[in-house]
Subunit: 320 residues, 2 copies
């Protein structure tokens, strides 16, 4: 459900490298050429371009992009040019260093809105890039926030069963467990963390459905009115539930929040579009319609220049 | 550090299949031919043989081996013929169903004596084979053994940094944390689980060294005299430490224990030899010398027939 458009006759990585090399040459940069190449290649193709670039020009394409491009456009292209697993490993690392709510949510997105295989690949890339494991850094950085630490550990270390099989009876019993914990104002108890951190996404979706059927309100709504000793915990738990249940809803909301109000949160907008363009951007755009506008229209309204052009290419605006 | 010997001119998978097919034909089985092919092929080659066998004969090689061979020999060949990750996923699943100490130790071996990448592959295979994740089954099966469950979860979900970099100061401080917990008779506290479940093996080896240097006794020895509410916990923790610190020592001990005393524990002997032949059997044989005998001699003394012949082929007895 990717929204990027790839030409039917893709140039070789070497041809793409030459085009980029020419775009970088002399004073200034031919930004249009950069968009023309990179925004229309998938992750595998971008990787091949990076490798060819290093071979042909003995420098890192990423470093060159960093020095040639600037502002939000530059940040977006650099994020897009990386291997998805390395990109997410770096985002996770940054999230842990910052530790504020906004950044912790990035970590939750990576843990809960990724496929199990992608999360594994991110953990692998993390060890390679940072000489430590993702989980030991979670333990170190959140040592003093007991509930949050336990939740994050459960989520980042999971490798969920990725199939469709669901145990309906288990869904009913675990919906009751979740409801008990939340209604007793103990959303951070071990059972909640165990259920969210180990069950498959299909199983959890069924559990959340049972919850709503049996208790009349969704787990989301009940969490809203719950509380926990750690005031960061509830918002984080809500995003985890949302990213497991419906990542497209979550990312539609991220894009929308980045746009409404005064100014634009370009970092959030870039991150949502870059990380989801090849995953589920089509569904995100469908979800977005509930704001009575289209994602394309909002991006056009709130961005400009090459940054706008690049984001629109990723969300498939150029598709006839 | 594998001990199996592979002919320099390896037959094609199809030729190997034909040899096996002939070995199965008619009354009885040509066990020698089975050993001759399978004991002298590495995991990748055995996989190619299995795939070719299914293609050529429209049946599973594993099923055929199960029906052709019997006793300890049959069990050993069937274990050996599987993909290492599938084999270990099945051993882990069996371990959880049995839940006695002896089987829990198998789970610890898989979690702590495997490379991080192998453990990941086992988790992947587990989901594929059992339609549930390894970690959700650990949670379910050990729900009532709080300390053990937490330890097992930390170990099976880890993807440790696999490099050599060590933080000496951290090693000293975590050696003190471990010592405090053990001397306060709280070996099952969260800090112990965190350290053993997340740090890299190089880091942990350095921590165990600091422990011995600073306190005069090894963590192993101190654990011996410690206690925990759950009487399964200490032996399991000891094996975890041993498998992280020196898997070759652990498996030398497993082989030795399977042999000494009345009768032989063939299941343990088979498992140790089959699972480590391609990993570190050379080092295990070196370690084994501390029993003033050789592993080969002990195997010869306690086994017979095709079973003996097969094990000896795996431990490299036939190497000139």
């Amino acid at each position: 459900m990717s929204t990027i458009s790839i030409p039917s006759d893709v140039p070789s990585p070497e041809e793409d490298c030459n085009k980029l090399w020419k775009a970088f040459k002399g004073w200034g940069t031919d930004e249009k050429a950069v968009i023309d190449v990179l925004a229309h290649r998938n992750a595998r193709q971008r990787r091949a371009i990076s490798e060819a670039y290093r071979r042909l020009h003995r420098e890192s394409l990423l470093d060159r992009l960093r020095s040639e491009l600037s502002g939000d456009f530059g940040k977006a292209v650099v994020l897009w040019a990386q291997d998805p697993q390395e990109r997410d490993a770096k985002l996770a690392n940054k999230a842990m260093k910052k530790k504020d709510e906004r950044h912790v949510l990035m970590l939750i997105e990576i843990a809960c809105a990724s496929s199990p295989d992608h999360l594994m690949a991110v953990r692998k890339a993390y060890c390679f890039l940072f000489n430590s494991s993702l989980e030991e850094d979670v333990e170190d950085h959140f040592a003093k926030q007991e509930s949050l630490r336990r939740l994050l550990m459960g989520l980042v270390t999971s490798y969920r069963y990725n199939g469709e099989l669901v145990d309906e009876e288990l869904a009913r019993s675990e919906a009751a467990t979740l409801h008990d914990a939340i209604s007793m104002k103990q959303p951070d108890n071990e059972e909640v963390v165990r259920i969210l951190g180990t069950r498959s996404k299909s199983q959890l979706k069924s559990t959340f459905n049972c919850y709503k059927e049996k208790y009349g309100t969704s787990i989301d709504e009940d969490l809203e009115s719950s509380s926990s000793g750690d005031n960061k915990f509830i918002p984080v738990l809500k995003v985890a539930v949302r990213c497991i249940e419906s990542p497209e809803k979550h990312f539609a909301e991220v894009v929308r929040s980045s746009i409404v109000g005064l100014g634009t949160d370009e970092d959030a907008l870039t991150r949502a579009i870059v990380t989801r363009a090849e995953v589920d951007m089509k569904s995100i755009k469908e979800e977005y319609k509930r704001y009575k506008t289209s994602l394309n229209t909002d991006v056009i309204g709130d961005t400009s220049g090459y940054y706008q052009e690049f984001l629109l290419a990723l969300v498939g605006w150029a598709i006839p």
